[in-house]
């Protein structure tokens, strides 16, 4: 059983389009995340949701809008795509947020290419 799944795995689209990436976790976790990994492999957090509420928003352009319909899902919608949005986007989840230190479980990633 896949713990954290993302769709689609690959997404090729043109500048200016709007696209969505879906994420689902079946681990019963309360916290979900979106990360962006650039071509140099740097991984940067974009958003974090706990119990469907936004708790982290790390200076991401407002063209990116996460939506959490329930605890098991965190979708990412991107408006007016730009070339610089090309990257691999990872969804992740953990049992709880907080400094107690819970490992995060990552999805397989969505490779977004904007042409």
């Amino acid at each position: 059983d896949t713990a954290v799944s993302q769709t689609p795995k690959y997404l090729v689209t043109q500048m200016g389009n709007d696209k969505s990436i879906k994420c689902e976790q079946n681990l019963g976790h309360d916290t979900m995340y979106w990360y962006k990994q650039d071509s140099k492999k740097f991984l940067k957090i974009m958003f974090s949701y706990n119990n469907k509420e936004l708790i982290i928003n790390e200076t991401v352009p407002n063209r990116f809008s996460p939506k959490s319909p329930d605890k098991a899902h965190l979708n990412l919608h991107i408006n007016s795509l730009e070339l610089g949005d090309s990257a691999v986007y990872f969804c992740a989840s953990s049992r709880l947020p907080g400094g107690a230190g819970y490992e995060q479980y990552f999805g397989p990633g969505t490779r977004l290419t904007v042409t």
């Binding site: 947020p97 230190g101 479980y105 397989p108």
Partner: protein
Amino acid sequence: SQQGEEDPQALSIQEGENATMNCSYKTSINNLQWYRQNSGRGLVHLILIRSNEREKHSGRLRVTLDTSKKSSSLLITASRAADTASYFCATDGLNNNAGNMLTFGGGTRLMVKP
């Protein structure tokens, strides 16, 4: 800027050798985690070490943490070709605005030649 920075950026060794990767960070932490990423895949958690711990083992992995130097190391003993991957350290800082925000380094790309 990256909180964690791995060193070296790339490492190539022969099967059976040990691989050591280092991570330095800037601010105080609650804990430090190491993750592995195989090519084209998501990250997989390897080990977590808390700020009051100095060393931790898991199978062929050994992690050390020196909070006075703000550094950690990951040692993989008796490496195998299957260990070929990128390895990332991630810090869970004390001053996060909302907790459990892991900050990742740039990773060490390890190649283990058979």
